[in-house]
Structures are given as C-alpha cells and as structure tokens.
Subunit: 148 residues, 2 copies
C-alpha cells in the first residue's frame, strides 16, 4: 500500500510540473534551462523509482512454517452444531461426563440430580445421536465435533 501512495504522489507531482509547463509555456524562451532541468529531473526520478520498484522488488517469500496445532486445545464448543442435532445444554453436559468415563451414578452425584434423570437425558441423547450405546454416542459426538 505504501508503494502505491508513493507512486501516486510522484505522478501527481509530474502532472503538476507538466501543467505548469503548459500554462507558462511562454516562459520557455526566457527560463528554458530551469524548466528543462526540472522536467528531466522529474522524469528521471520517476524512471529511477520505477526501476527501483520493478526490478529490485522481490516477490513475496512465503515461508511455510508447519505448526502442529493440536485440535483438542483449540476446541471450542459451538452451540450451532449442538442445536443442529437438537441437543440441549444439559444433555451435552451429560455427554461430556459420559465421555470422561463416568457412570450414570457418578454423573448424577456430580451434577446433583438423581440417577433416573441422568438416564432420561442419556436416552434422549442416544436417540438424537442415533446411538444405542454409550460408546457409539461418544464416537459420533466426537465425529460431529460436539466434544473434543
């Protein structure tokens, strides 16, 4: 961007010089040397800049730096994916605890509800995920990016 600004500025300068040359054409006879010199200076400065920019301008070097980006650490739960499957926040919570290897009873104690409630959530979860077992539910949930 900087380059463009510079070039446009210089073009404007050249234009002004040209305009002044035309406007004060009658001065050529009396002050031809100054005008001639200025014109040459402007033209060659522009030429020099053009040369400097085009001939020495290096192509952008793209250094591909392979960075191992662990998918787990960059994981962010996005509600869109969750709601696309019609899974509620609470159900997702239970899903995560199930994925952590907790039993229904442990989950129940962890979130302060009864085991029956956990079972109900789990059942709905399996239905929505098309799974018939814990493991399948967790696998498909991972495949859908629902959990890390």
């Amino acid at each position: 961007m900087k380059r463009h600004i510079l070039l446009y500025g210089l073009l404007a300068g050249v234009l002004i010089v040209v305009l002044r040359l035309i406007e004060y054409r009658y001065l050529i006879a009396t002050r031809s040397v100054e005008i001639y010199g200025g014109l040459i200076a402007a033209v060659f400065a522009a030429l020099g800049i053009w040369l400097g920019v085009t001939l020495t301008g290096r192509p952008e070097r793209v250094v591909v730096k392979e960075v191992s980006v662990p998918a787990a650490s960059t994981f962010v739960a996005d509600p869109a994916r969750r709601e696309a499957l019609g899974i509620t926040k609470r159900e997702l919570e239970i899903l995560e605890l199930m994925a952590a290897g907790m039993s229904n009873k442990e989950i129940a104690d962890h979130i302060f509800v009864s085991e029956n409630t956990v079972k109900t959530h789990a059942s709905r979860l399996f239905e929505k995920l098309g799974a018939r077992r814990r493991m399948q539910a967790i696998n498909t949930a991972k495949g859908s990016g629902l959990i890390p």
Copy 2:
C-alpha cells in the same frame, strides 16, 4: 542480490559521468546545457532508484501457515507400550473393538469367539489398565498411546 548488482552498476555509470565531466571540464562553456541535463538526469535517476529501493522495498514476509498435523493418522501401534502394561495382542484387539463402540456380543461375532471369552479378555484388560468401566479403559488406553 540482484538489487546490489543494479545499484553498483548505476553507481559506476554515475562515476563515469562525473569523470567525463571533470575530464572535459572545458566543454562546460560550450555544451553546458547538455551536461547539466545529463547530470541532473543521472542524479535524479539515482535518487529515484534509491527511493524506490529503500522506501518501497518490502521486508521479507514470513507467512506462518498453520498446517494441522494430524497425530491420529501418524499413529503406529508400538508393541513396547503394550507389553509395558502386560497387555496381550488379543486383549489389545478387543480393546480396539471396544473403542469402536462395539458391544461384547458384537466383538464376539466379529472375531469368532464366544461372548464369555470377550468378557474374560475385557476383565483382564480392565484390571491391567486400572479401569472399572469400558469408557475408563479406553480413556486410559488413549492416554497411554495404546490406541489412537
């Protein structure tokens, strides 16, 4: 590198012009306009090039391209890790099928053994992995790099 060669070449040209100017100093009186013009041209061309090079010369841009290096695809089952835990090949086989979300019955049908056999393997597996449930076994196995 190209830029340096160009600069040196132009400097040499300017030097030649200056030398010629000094050498043929006596011509100033008669051909002052041409010499003056040439000098201005050379100086401003050099100035332009310098401007073009220094002001618009882009620094080398390092583009960090984050390439997701999937650790899962590069996973290779190494027997050392397996034997360190005293887990047999057959047990690992069952572990993998369990991780795929298969039930004991499905695993049994898959490897052509009875469900009881699968249960026995599973029990030994849980004991060796210090797990009390399928999920825990799979989680610890993943943590140990036993399975992807």
